[in-house]
């Protein structure tokens, strides 16, 4: 059994992922800021100039918040899925608790998220929307999102060891989630009979709840938060359970 310093190891694993990603980039962390801004410019042009949808208030902030959170989900899930296979040399060498590998990979993506969210908050304040009391909800909303992504990453990271097609399924699935998430359209565009079902999508809930606080100055809707919490906790519990089942034979399959 491994009985080392869990937090020291986690910090080193997260630092490894982060440093490896940025060391060879001359602009370093600036890329984290540049990527959502470039995407924002593209969306703005397409939807304001081509589709001429200007009905959404604070359209730029609306899109920026959606892009940042969706990109985090997309990237963290794919990297999390590959984490166990990519770290096979660690898994096959040290009997560390296996859960720490996908956890570290999701956490290292949280560093990028933090940088981008800081950009978003600055943009919100600069646009005159200001800070309100409901900002206290934000850490809870984002923590739920991270828990959800960690949960599904556990499932797919374990599956990926046994079935190396898993990452491509995950990539395709992300594209489906993209269209069922209100990144550049309003929730009210979704026909009413589907709306209750629609907000079961935790990524949609993550983005909707964030916007309620930042753009509307309101507490997130109760039904959104309840479903979001249920799905996130459920995904985490299922992920922990399935990963525990799968991890005992990792060594044989890596």
């Amino acid at each position: 059994m491994w009985n080392g310093d869990y937090r020291f190891l986690l910090r080193n694993l997260v630092a490894k992922d982060f440093k490896v990603r940025y060391r060879n980039m001359s602009l370093g962390v600036l890329w984290s800021l540049l990527n959502p801004l470039v995407m924002l410019a593209v969306y703005l042009f397409v939807f304001a100039k081509i589709f001429k949808t200007t009905a959404i208030p604070h359209f730029a902030l609306y899109i920026l918040s959606g892009v940042i959170l969706f990109n985090f989900f997309n990237l963290a899930w794919i990297v999390g899925t590959c984490s166990v296979v990519d770290n096979a040399n660690l898994i096959k060498r040290v009997p560390v608790p296996r859960e720490i590998v996908p956890f570290a990979s999701v956490l290292s993506n949280c560093l990028h998220l933090a940088i981008q969210l800081a950009l978003l908050l600055v943009a919100v304040i600069m646009s005159g929307l200001g800070v309100n009391i409901y900002w206290f909800y934000l850490p809870i909303i984002w923590a739920l999102g991270i828990l959800f992504i960690f949960g599904i990453s556990l499932i797919t990271a374990g599956l990926h060891v046994y079935l190396r097609d898993t990452r491509y399924v995950v990539e395709s699935f992300c594209l489906i989630v993209f269209w069922f998430t209100p990144i550049f359209y309003l929730l009210s565009f979704v026909p009413e009979q589907y709306r209750a079902l629609y907000i079961w999508n935790p990524i949609a809930a993550l983005i909707i709840a964030t916007r309620s606080v930042l753009l509307d100055g309101q507490a997130p809707a109760m039904d959104v938060m309840v479903k979001f919490t249920l799905v996130s906790v459920g995904a985490l519990a299922l992920g922990m359970f399935l990963f525990r089942q799968m991890k005992s034979r990792f060594y044989d399959y890596l």
């Binding site: 310093d5 020291f8 080193n12 694993l13 440093k19």
Partner: protein, 274 residues
């Protein structure tokens, strides 16, 4: 006291190595189950290792040495039998695995130490000794990809001998570096042994085998011989020199009594040093 008890352990693997693509699963579905040929990596292996003993595990490629180590370290589970370990094993110390080429020497030492179960304070205390032993004080801030193979090996070995587990497991780590460095490594291992650590070493070098009191010879997953190195190693060497000419595998497995064996073997091991 027995620090490791391996009791009637068997481990099987599939030829295909386990991993699959979706098409393999589909093909299996349509053509009936075909999991690939099953073979025994280890077959009814039993032995015990006492505290402070030094054991080398030998055998041809594919004999099951690495599988055996992975079971002892707790990375894999046996299909049959049981493995009991009392005391801390840090890790399976294979050279260089766990190192990342983009991280600097120092960063790699930190990551490795964390993986091996150390905390930050202990790592900082070890760092100086590790760097000094590896003779790399000028390169520790360079990414590992700029290191020569020799430098890489020196760093890896230095980490391996400075973490101080009750049981030191070394997998082929002595085959590195120039002669001067090898000698230094052997001296370091001697020191660790005098401090009362148990040593398990996997190696193909007869010189290293003879530094251990006892040798376990694996052949196709079975223990062929288990006894004092002075008896097992010559038998293994002569078998390996001419495996086709029909030198029969020894049929008898000498029973090894650790209590009477150890002091004598230790003295011999010292004489047999490089």
């Amino acid at each position: 006291m027995n620090i490791i008890t391996v009791n009637d352990v068997s481990k099987t693997f599939r030829r295909r190595g386990g991993r699959k693509l979706l098409r393999d699963y589909l093909r299996d579905q349509f053509r009936g189950r075909n999991e690939g040929e099953v073979f025994y990596a280890l077959k009814h292996v039993s032995f015990t290792i006492a505290t402070q003993e030094s054991v080398s595990i030998i055998g041809a490629n594919g004999a099951g040495k690495s599988t055996l180590l992975s079971l002892i370290v707790g990375l894999a589970k046996p299909d049959e039998g049981s493995v009991e370990v009392n005391g801390r094993i840090a890790a399976l110390l294979e050279l260089g695995s766990g190192f990342h080429p983009e991280l600097t020497g120092t960063e790699n030492v930190f990551l490795n130490a964390a993986l091996l179960g150390f905390n930050e304070k202990q790592t900082r205390e070890m760092l100086g000794a590790i760097v000094e032993f590896a003779e790399l004080s000028e390169s520790m801030d360079q990414p590992l990809r700029t290191y020569s193979t020799g430098m890489l090996m020196r760093l890896a070995f230095s980490v391996a001998v400075h973490v101080e587990p009750a049981i030191l497991i070394v997998d082929e780590v002595l085959a590195v570096g120039d002669l001067a460095f090898q000698e230094k490594c052997v001296r370091r291992i001697q020191t660790l042994r005098q401090e009362g650590r148990t040593l398990i070493s996997v190696t193909h070098a007869p010189g290293v085998m003879l530094t251990c009191d006892r040798t376990i010879w694996l052949h196709h997953g079975e223990v062929i011989m288990d006894g004092p190195s002075s008896e097992v190693v010559p038998a293994y060497v002569s078998y390996m020199a001419a495996p086709q000419t029909g030198v029969p595998l020894p049929a008898v497995k000498p029973v090894f009594n650790t209590d009477t064996m150890r002091p004598r073997a230790e003295a011999r091991a010292k004489r047999a040093m490089v």
